[in-house]
């Protein structure tokens, strides 16, 4: 089995685990809802004055409520396996179509955030790594430690206070032009950059102290050529590999930062659905986020495979 196949199979297994985990948790969520669930959900969907027995029973059928717990559970997972996610209990729209829109918005935000983070973090880190214990290295460490102690939503809060309220440069919330994306993306990016800059710094310092770096220099290559031909790529491998670990931070950040900035993405929708106890939407959005996580991880794996030929050997 080639490296590529085993990697993709592993990620496929992870996707399966995500689906199963989300399905199970949301099933537990339905069981934990108090009162006559079907009635409450129907009320939420059609308004209290329009609820009758038929509506409640329709809901009950739709969510397969009322059987034995195990039967309900299997039925629940069966629907999930058929990718039948149902309709939102609040808006009545198909979960799929809602999630599709929200996912697009979240991807926009995530991509801008990752690009910003890569622009800020690794270059500073590599510079710091080349001049170990220099002033840039110290400043880099201090900045990284301070930033890492602030979760992305707090960074977001501080950004709102500083830029939209204090300076009035950016809109604080909502989703319109490109200007709305800056603050939430920056809130996510700063946290990501704080970690990746140290990874890049340590990787670069490791490379700069390595025998092959020294040998490239004594072979007669100029320092800048050594950096571009040997340093960058070798230091880049751990930085990219670590992006995989940071994806957790990204996904978690999306949930909270979107809520803070009222960004109409998947994280915002998940929080809304949880508050409204809109179970099909909870399942749909959580599933989408989980699968996004797996997809991004796969992307990181493939990039690693691309830039590190050692990994391609079986």
């Amino acid at each position: 089995m080639s490296r590529l196949t085993s990697l993709l199979l592993g990620r496929l297994l992870q996707a399966g685990l995500v689906a199963w985990g989300v399905g199970t948790l949301t099933f537990l969520l339905t069981r934990a809802l108090p009162g006559d669930m079907a009635y409450r959900i129907a009320a939420g969907r059609y308004g209290y004055e329009n609820v009758d027995r038929d509506a409640a029973e329709a809901v009950s059928r739709e969510l397969a409520l009322g059987g034995s717990p195990l039967g309900d559970y299997l039925h629940w997972l069966g629907d999930l396996a058929r990718l039948d996610l149902g309709h939102s209990l609040v808006s009545g729209e198909a979960v799929w179509s809602e999630v599709r829109h929200q996912l697009g918005h979240s991807l926009d935000l995530a991509i801008v955030a990752v690009l910003l983070a890569l622009l800020i973090g690794p270059p500073l880190g590599m510079l710091a790594g080349l001049r170990r214990d220099g002033w840039l290295d110290r400043a880099n460490l201090l900045g990284a430690v301070l930033l890492r102690s602030l979760p992305s939503f707090v960074i977001g809060l501080l950004l709102i206070m500083a830029f939209s309220v204090g300076l009035g440069w950016f809109p604080a919330a909502g989703h319109g032009g490109a200007s709305h994306a800056w603050l939430p993306a920056l809130a996510l990016a700063l946290g990501l950059a704080a970690v990746s800059t140290r990874v890049a710094r340590n990787a670069m310092a490791g490379v700069a102290g390595s025998p092959f770096h020294a040998f490239a220099l004594t072979k007669g290559l100029s320092p800048s050529r050594v950096f571009w031909r040997h340093g960058l790529r070798n230091a880049g491998v751990p930085v990219v590999a670590y992006l995989g670990v940071q994806l957790v931070y990204l996904i978690e950040g999306v949930v909270v930062v979107e809520s803070l900035f009222a960004w109409p993405g998947i994280g915002h929708a998940l929080v809304h659905a949880l508050v409204a106890r809109d179970v099909p939407m909870v399942q749909g959005t959580a599933l989408a986020m989980g699968l996004l996580f797996v997809a991004l991880n796969t992307l990181v794996d493939l990039t690693c495979l691309l830039i590190d030929p050692r990994r391609r050997q079986a």
């Binding site: 390595s210 025998p211 040998f215 220099l217 004594t218 007669g220 040997h230 070798n234």
Partner: protein, 484 residues
């Protein structure tokens, strides 16, 4: 072309690390700096190259064709690298960029250091690789190269820009004797067309084979200098004599004949083992008797350690079986390790670990002091942790630890290969002596045939060279008539 070092020394502030010494090299000559590990030899090479670590400073003069190198600024010094000064890396495998294909690592020197255009660089790379037998390896990554191939590749990459002074710093570190000869041949290549070679080594065999001139260094000072042929036969300094005597090739054969051995403590019948798809040995039978010292020799990767571990029960053979003499406790079969610090729990003092052992086997504490004395270990060492004593001391402590258990078989897996030659000279005879004295069978693994020949009663030669697929059965050579 000449290199002339005048009163060249290395200083850390006011501390002199290498005392000023002078030497001269002309086109086609070679000079070998010989000395113990840590004698400051490598610092001299770095002083000539201009790669001393921050905080160290070279003083004196280094003249390359009259130019005083130590006065050059960093950038000017750098322009000499590759073009005039070549530094061969100590461990070539680590000196190659792990992500870059073999051919490219040579091509970039032609292209960017020698200044060839793209086509010519490609062509010269192809020819250089072909000449060194690396033609098939151009597309491989360093991790796919054998140690020998990596060595040749690093050589090609370093010398591609035509530097005439080649500096080789411990080029044979950790190599077995076959590989060592390969490296010597490679180094002689560098010197063939009027190049100059400066070799730094602790290995007398390398100095001997390279010929030319030799300088013996100790504690950062030059003790003597002369033609290799003469100086390595009759060194004038006391240290030179000791260094020479430490070379296993010079050891005198043991005077005492082996004791008549009793019933074997261990018998192996028809052992066969395949590891990672390679057959290491097949239908191998042997027996070990009390008090006999048996050498286990062969090239690296031929399965010496694996065989020893099978005999100790630390692995299971694919075929065959190992029988121990009856009535012996399991802990009387012991092992000494190649890397002494790796064989100890690093967080505790040697005294604590010794107490643990005494308690575990309810041993008499009075047995420790005489053994300490016999092994020339100070009891002050017991207050230190394994990482805080020298490799030689720790290996002697390992010996003490196993001797307390009255072993009947001791498997010593390259017990001195990480130690410098003088320490090896001291420990190995002590080990064989103690084994014979106590009637313990000693199975000694070494890649050094001279060492095995001079220490052992008989030798077991495992012969599967690294790159050949076919497994050879062990060939046994007897230095002495078989006993028992």
């Amino acid at each position: 072309m000449t290199l002339h070092a005048i009163d060249l020394g290395v200083w850390a502030g006011d501390d002199c690390l290498v005392a000023p010494c002078s030497f001269r090299l002309s086109a086609g000559e070679n000079l070998t700096l010989l000395g113990e590990t840590g004698a400051g030899k490598s610092l001299l090479a770095q002083a000539i190259m201009g790669t001393l670590p921050a905080g160290l400073e070279a003083r004196g003069e280094v003249r390359l064709d009259g130019r005083q190198l130590l006065d050059l600024r960093r950038g000017e010094r750098r322009r000499l690298w590759g073009r005039e000064l070549v530094l061969l890396p100590q461990e070539p495998w680590h000196a190659l960029d792990p992500l870059m294909r073999a051919g490219e690592q040579v091509r970039e020197t032609y292209r960017f250091v020698a200044g060839d255009d793209a086509g010519r660089a490609r062509e010269r790379t192809r020819r250089a690789l072909a000449r060194l037998g690396l033609g098939q390896a151009a597309r491989r990554l360093p991790s796919e190269l054998s140690g020998g191939m990596a060595q040749r590749l690093a050589f090609a990459a370093a010398t591609a820009a035509g530097g005439r002074l080649v500096i080789a710093d411990e080029p044979t570190k950790g190599l077995d004797s076959d590989r060592r000869d390969e490296v010597v041949a490679l180094l002689q290549e560098a010197q063939r067309d009027g190049g100059m070679l400066l070799t730094i080594t602790h290995d007398i065999q390398v100095a001997r084979r390279l010929g030319g001139r030799v300088m013996i260094l100790r504690d950062g000072r030059c003790l003597e200098e002369g033609e290799a042929a003469e100086l390595l036969r009759r060194p004038r300094s006391d240290f030179g004599r000791r260094l020479l005597a430490a070379d296993p090739a010079e050891w005198t054969a043991r005077a005492t004949p082996p004791r008549a051995a009793g019933e074997p403590v261990l018998r192996a019948h028809g052992l066969g083992k395949t590891l990672g798809g390679r057959r290491l040995f097949e239908a191998l039978s042997l027996s070990l008797s009390p008090g006999e010292v048996v050498g286990l020799a062969g090239p690296s990767g031929c399965g010496k350690s694996t065989l020893g571990n099978l005999l100790l029960g630390l692995g299971t053979p694919d075929r065959g079986r190992v029988e121990r003499a009856t009535g012996l406790a399991p802990h009387r079969f012991q092992k000494l390790y190649q890397d002494p610090p790796a064989a100890f729990a690093p967080h505790w003092t040697l005294g604590t670990l010794l107490d643990d052992l005494l308690r575990r086997h309810r041993l008499d504490r009075d047995r420790v002091p005489p053994l300490l004395e016999r092994l020339r270990l100070s009891s002050a060492l017991l207050a230190r942790r394994p990482g805080e004593v020298s490799g030689g001391e720790l290996q002697r402590f390992s010996l003490l630890r196993v001797l307390l258990l009255d072993p009947v078989l001791l498997f010593a897996d390259e017990p001195t290969s990480r130690l410098d030659p003088l320490t090896q000279r001291e420990i190995l005879p002590l080990m064989t002596e103690l084994a014979r004295e106590r009637g313990c069978a000693l199975l000694l693994v070494s890649h050094d045939r001279d060492l095995v020949r001079h220490s052992c009663d008989r030798t077991l030669e495992l012969g599967t060279p690294l790159n050949q697929g076919s497994a050879l059965t062990a060939r046994e050579e007897r230095a002495m008539p078989e006993s028992g």
